[in-house]
């Protein structure tokens, strides 16, 4: 009886430990799932441009939400925001959003009226990329104050098939194309930013 009294709390602790292991594994697995593309991965040798760590960034480029459920054939709104961590003047804002064109139809690009009219915007089904380039003509650039939030782009996404997918802020390929970039006025410096990913669970 004495042993049972000792065993019960030990068993309870072990059950809790097991739950923690299980839950953390499920979370880890879900992340890997979204990382798997539908087609060929770039080989490990290929250098990639890393996104700066969030502690050092001037801007956060974030989706309205990190996770969303969508329905096959039903249109859903997606928004990419720029959140200013520091006050900066910019001469250009180049945004590239990666997506899987086999899975999503992207339509109805909408741009924030506080931003200049985009010099170039396109949904590239060939490259699986939503491209928006803003160039600022004003000599002093466009001032973005700390704490400001701008909708860099809004668009409609219509999924074509069930599964787990993602939209991602592109930081550039091996040729450094498709690199999301915010260039500071006068210094011609690309300002550090962090970009997140939107995980989409598509159901029937």
């Amino acid at each position: 009886m004495k042993y049972i009294k000792v065993l019960i709390p030990i068993v309870a602790v072990l059950v809790i430990a097991e739950s923690v292991v299980l839950l953390s594994n499920i979370a880890k697995r879900a992340k890997v799932t979204t990382d798997l593309p539908r087609t060929v991965l770039t080989p490990a040798k290929t250098p990639t441009v890393s996104t700066p760590v969030s502690e050092e960034v001037d801007f956060n480029v974030v989706f309205g939400t990190e996770q969303v459920q969508m329905q096959v054939g039903k249109l859903s709104k997606v928004q990419v925001n720029l959140l200013a961590k520091k006050t900066r003047s910019v001469d250009s804002l180049n945004l590239y959003v990666k997506y899987d064109p086999k899975v999503f139809n992207i339509t109805n690009l909408i741009f924030d009226s506080r931003l200049p009219k985009p010099t170039f915007s396109k949904v590239s089904t060939a490259k699986g990329m939503i491209v928006v380039n803003y160039l600022v003509s004003e000599t002093a650039g466009m001032k973005i104050n700390e704490g400001d939030s701008l909708a860099l782009i809004k668009f409609d996404a219509t999924p074509k098939m069930v599964g787990d997918y993602s939209f991602e802020i592109s930081s550039g390929n091996e040729a450094n194309e498709s690199a999301t970039m915010f260039v500071e006025n006068a210094t011609v410096k690309a300002l550090p930013y962090s970009g997140n990913k939107l995980t989409v669970n598509v159901i029937k």
């Binding site: 798997l36 080989p43 040798k45 001469d91 010099t119 690309a190």
Partner: protein
């Protein structure tokens, strides 16, 4: 006795729970999002006897295993791999025919390029290749699937070697009933070869005529019009590319305005492609000092050349070699800077815009014949027109890319 029984029961319970914790950790790694099938990559043939300068095909194959949760073999829609060899013994032949869409399920070459590598047995170079299929699921293939045809040329002599597949850098993807799309590469087998004759390897191709090909060319710069007095003496970089991917770069080439051509502003140049013993199926890349690099694959080209390789033929006789007229596809200005101020990075983007804007706002001016990086049209001043020219280039380039 009862107490002992309780103690044993408790211990068994503890061991079972600890085991469950360990197993839970392991089993998660093999469930959802693990590979949905296995696959084997191989080269055919597996052995080959060659003679020096012999060009020979090597077939890349994938064999897919049974898909998880199914009795059918997995359907494949993409393969990315590195096929590696010793570049003192073998060279890559023409990569234009990697895919034959009538005999292969794959229809798109994502990329094919030659990269360096370090592997055992002196293997030091790889053909990096990725092919995909955009066909509907029903038309995808499973089991043994012909992926690509790779052309090699034996350049060594009296030697043996191997062509290997770098399994660690290979990916096979396919269609599955689950969200998993990758297949595990269970094996990757290459081929061994013997090159007959001689006493050692050599990789020095013999020039066709004992001299070098001569490139005579005409180019134009977009936005430069007659009378723009600073559009002169612009040095260009010319890169010649052979069908096997070999490249040779010639810097500081200065084409000269040809005033005998009156319907456009054209610049004429001549370059002997020293140490470049290739004459046919060439591609020529030209980059201006403030311009993006253009690829020219044919004479009289008038638009973006969106193909691998090229079809330009040159001879070593300067008197008879055909002048390659590239004026129909002018060099586009706008690549002014990269991360390092004033040093080109091969792209037009926000950095170039910011760099240009500062000067345009100042309205810098130089004298006739002088050089100003941000003067995109060579009219000796930087003004609003230059920013418009930049936007034009940016739009065109992005349209090409996307």
């Amino acid at each position: 006795m009862k107490k002992l029984g309780n103690l044993i029961f408790g211990l068994v319970l503890l061991i079972a729970l600890a085991g469950a914790v360990i197993l839970a950790g392991r089993s998660q790694d093999t469930r959802k999002s693990a590979y949905f099938a296995g696959a084997n990559l191989s080269l055919q043939p597996t052995t080959k006897t060659l003679t020096t300068n012999e060009v020979f095909p090597v077939q890349l194959w994938v064999e897919t295993g049974v898909a998880t949760g199914s009795s059918d073999k997995a359907k494949v829609d993409g393969v990315s791999t590195y096929v590696c060899y010793d570049n003192r013994k073998l060279a890559i032949g023409d990569t234009a025919g990697v895919l034959n869409t009538t005999t292969m399920v794959f229809d798109t070459v994502q990329y094919v390029s030659v990269v360096g590598g370090t592997y055992p047995s002196g293997i030091n170079e790889c053909l990096r290749l990725a092919v995909t299929s955009n066909k509907p699921v029903a038309e995808l293939s499973s089991g043994a699937v012909y992926v690509a045809k790779l052309m090699f040329k034996a350049i060594g002599s009296g030697t043996t070697g191997a062509i290997i597949i770098d399994r660690n850098n290979s990916v096979v993807s396919g269609n599955s009933a689950t969200t998993d799309t990758s297949m595990s590469i269970d094996s990757a087998s290459g081929l061994t070869y013997t090159i007959a004759g001689g006493s050692g390897p050599t990789n020095t191709p013999i020039p066709e005529t004992g001299t070098w090909p001569v490139l005579k060319y005409l180019i134009s710069y977009r936005n430069v019009v007659s009378g723009n007095m600073c559009a002169t003496g612009w040095p260009v970089v010319i890169t010649a590319m052979a069908p096997n991917g070999t490249k040779k770069v010639y810097t500081a080439q200065v084409p000269v305005r040809d005033t005998s051509i009156t319907n456009k502003v054209a610049y004429r140049g001549q370059l002997t492609l020293t140490d470049f013993p290739y004459y046919q199926n060439l591609a020529i890349f030209i980059k201006g000092p403030k311009h993006l690099q253009n690829k020219y694959g044919v004479n009289n080209q008038t638009a973006y050349y969106n193909q691998a390789g090229g079809a330009i033929t040159l001879t070593s006789n300067a008197a008879t070699t055909v002048v390659q007229d590239f004026t129909g596809y002018p060099l586009m200005p706008g690549d002014l800077t990269g991360a390092t101020s004033g040093v080109q990075d091969g792209m037009v983007d926000g950095r170039d815009w910011s760099y240009l804007k500062v000067v345009a706002d100042r309205r810098d001016v130089v004298g006739n014949g002088q050089y100003l990086l941000t003067d995109l049209d060579g009219n000796c001043q930087v003004a609003g027109m230059d920013t418009s020219f930049f936007i034009l280039t940016l739009k065109d380039k992005l349209e090409q890319l996307y």
